[in-house]
Subunit: 264 residues, 2 copies
């Protein structure tokens, strides 16, 4: 299970200001700290970037690339921003992402084919509604895969995000238990070793005591890991969930186990 930092977000005022001022230092600092904390990939969550999508994304990606060689997730709803990032080259890029929403199928999904890169597919309805159970998620996975196949890319370019339901939703936790089966059953359903990603912070969206949120995330991460999750998108500064994610890796490691493995 690869740990992907979700820390680099344009909604973070420090990052927002750094982008506006074209000052790469705070971005570099954040990425260095994420990698030190155990990040194995960096999600560049740029939001829609409406004013200058290409220039902004180029600035962000270059700032990140100046301090790391980790894979980068280009996380934007703006296809021009994603394309500008992909054009830079120099990193393993993953497009984050598309869904059944028509404008994403039309404008974002084709970029994966053109640049031959991996792309994340969200199991959401065309109007971005979250499916309400395991059956709906599997049905949407079939539709998403059908759309993906039109790119002509092999299945190993696809990463499916089953979308974790917030615990504050009615039946959110029950949906999340069902999502474990979704992750486990996708390879059988689609006929190849489908990779998956999940955004851990979704689980505890909304009000609630921080320590309990971290504990619930820490309990859910090993369930996801045991179900075969490939990527965990998470806040690298949340110590308990990160330590637990590392412990999951040590438990699943086919090499000789040592307690030092927890150092990552």
């Amino acid at each position: 299970m690869i740990r992907v930092a979700d820390n680099l977000q344009i909604v973070n005022p420090i990052i927002h200001a750094a982008l506006k001022d074209r000052n790469p230092a705070p971005i570099r600092d954040l990425v260095i700290r994420c990698e030190k904390a155990g990040a194995q990939a960096i999600d560049i969550n740029s939001g829609p970037l409406t004013r200058n999508p290409s220039g902004d994304m180029v600035f962000l990606v270059e700032a990140v690339q100046s301090v790391t060689r980790l894979p980068l997730l280009l996380d934007s709803t703006n296809p021009r921003a994603i394309e500008a990032g992909l054009r830079l080259g120099g990193s393993r890029f993953i497009i984050n992402g598309f869904s059944l929403e028509p404008r994403k199928i039309e404008a974002i999904l084709p970029l994966a084919g053109r640049f031959d890169v991996e792309i994340i597919a969200y199991l959401l309805y065309p109007d971005s509604r979250v499916p309400s159970d395991e059956t709906e998620r599997l049905r949407i996975a079939l539709m998403v895969y059908e759309a993906f196949q039109k790119t002509g890319l092999p299945g190993d370019r696809l990463i499916i995000d089953p979308v974790i339901a917030p615990l504050m939703w009615e039946n959110g936790n029950i949906q999340d238990m069902g999502t474990l089966s979704v992750i486990r059953n996708l390879p059988d359903l689609l006929g190849f070793p489908v990779r998956t990603i999940a955004g851990i912070s979704n689980l505890t969206t909304g009000p609630g005591p921080a320590a309990r949120k971290r504990l619930l995330e820490a309990a859910y991460i090993p369930m996801l890991a045991a179900s075969g999750l490939s990527f965990a998108l998470m806040n690298m500064f949340h110590e308990l969930p990160v330590a637990i994610a590392r412990a999951c890796e040590a438990l699943a490691d086919p090499g000789i186990f040592t307690y030092e493995a927890l150092d990552g």
Copy 2:
């Protein structure tokens, strides 16, 4: 997933002295603290009790029963000790346990039938060797179930312990990943909703830093929970694993989720 305290052990010098002196106070104190920490059942690990098996077990059980109404696991290799405990009545008893070892099949397993109580079956070879992978564990499960059926008891009296391998063993962690499938597949294999138990402390048997042991246990517990484990036998004074086990319960709870659920 029911939390079973493994704290009451005759190898604990305080408990050993209490038994020798027929002083119930330290036993009562320990059980009260376990229940406060969230124990939902108590394992009375009396060891073989060679000198006065009946008298010793009666003393232990009565000391425990004087402060709790929780289910009690009678954990001994001595059938006379187990029988003496069962004769007392007054609690839900679970025999812990039998295996394919001939003298256990002959002397311990029949007690479950005679007293109509639940019994734990360890997936071990007749010579007590631990099976080395998932296939061996499932094969032994079939043999254990065959022996169990001769008691005439229904399947809901059987609880299977797949035996967690210590991480310090060669391939121990890989065995433990396989054990998750064993737990998941037992109901299909035996044709009824087979309940399971696992001794969490087995995972980290041997030398190693305590904090890392607790972290690995905390990572493994949700994997077991997500695989359908019914009972987790654990040290109730290990805060992180216990908090994580509670969080697993909150995640799986079909009722309305609240952060207060973590209080148990």
